[in-house]
């Protein structure tokens, strides 16, 4: 089973990288771009067939390593 984890900064946490990306896009003529937030996308191959079990394990992975819950949120997606 494949899993996709998105890690994003919590609302209210300053994201200078997102801001810099937004400014660059504006400079390139993409005037419609407002707030930009940058995050991480992690794809994992799992040796697990049970969806619920996989999800619980992924939650644990996110809390222990993949995300820093002081500043980041995470979301988990199971694919096939």
């Amino acid at each position: 089973m494949k899993a996709r984890v998105h890690v994003t900064l919590k609302n209210g946490v300053l994201d200078p990288q997102g801001k810099a990306i937004g400014h660059s896009l504006n400079r390139l003529g993409f005037a419609e771009v407002g707030d930009v937030r940058q995050g991480k996308f992690i794809e994992l191959e799992l040796a697990e067939t049970d969806q619920a079990k996989a999800k619980a394990r992924l939650e644990d992975m996110c809390r222990k390593l993949l995300a820093n819950t002081v500043i980041e949120n995470y979301s988990i997606e199971l694919v096939g």
Partner: protein, 229 residues
């Protein structure tokens, strides 16, 4: 005082801090490789600066999960003092030994140079040789030193006197002008609740010899020797 300095793949200030400790103790600290889950008992554990595990995922995130850090967490819980400097500060926060986290510098630049710090308290193992309110000059070298914690955590830190150092101007003014990286409330270093763990972004170990621009960091190590010998 017997000290241990941890070494991770990508550490680069372990030699500097070992030298600073040797300067004040006359004794070379033990160097402990990250894979060693067991090492001799020491009076102090230092987590040095560098780019452990190439700063992959987040600065300090991988190192915080290494076998040596599992042992450090155990010993810290027993009261063994732990000092985290720069990447070491990032590692100990990721390991949950200190509150908050270190984010990318507000202006996205790697900053390298001297900064001024205001000593917030002299009531700790690490700061007993300084006066509260004293301004010291030490170098910084980091891209992710922007300290962040939520409002509840900040309030607790302030109420319990857990802030060790704040960035300031040369005259001691704590404001945006003296803040090199955007750290919330100019925080440069914090303690845990028992003040036996301290982390800071600046490098006191690189301010121990007059030849290298000042000695203001030396008192930190001398204070530790006094408290732990």
């Amino acid at each position: 005082m017997k000290a241990a300095v941890l070494v991770f793949p990508g550490s680069n200030r372990e030699g500097d801090v070992a030298q600073a400790i040797e300067l004040v103790t006359g004794r070379r600290p033990q160097m402990i490789w990250h894979g060693d889950g067991d090492f001799e008992k020491t009076d102090l554990i230092v987590v040095p600066g560098g780019f452990s595990y190439g700063d992959y995922l987040r600065c300090g995130a991988m190192a915080a999960q290494s076998p040596v850090m599992a042992e450090v967490k155990k010993r810290a819980a027993q009261g063994v003092p732990v000092l985290g400097i720069c990447n070491g500060f990032q590692i100990v926060t990721e390991a949950g030994l200190l509150p908050g986290t270190l984010m990318r510098n507000e202006k996205l630049k790697f900053i390298c140079g001297d900064v001024h710090l205001k000593v917030e308290t002299s009531q700790s193992l690490f700061t007993n040789r300084y006066q509260a309110g004293q301004v010291i000059k030490v170098p910084v070298a980091h891209a992710e030193g922007n300290y962040f914690a939520d409002e509840d955590t900040l309030k607790k830190l302030e109420d319990r006197g857990q802030i060790a150092f704040r960035y300031c101007s040369a005259d001691g003014t704590v404001d945006a002008g003296g803040n090199p990286n955007g750290s919330i409330r100019n925080i440069a270093g914090v303690f845990n609740e028992t003040k036996t763990v301290m982390g800071l972004m600046p490098h006191p170990e690189n301010a121990v010899e007059p030849m290298f621009g000042g000695c203001d960091g030396k008192a930190l190590f001398e204070g530790l020797v006094e408290a732990l010998s």
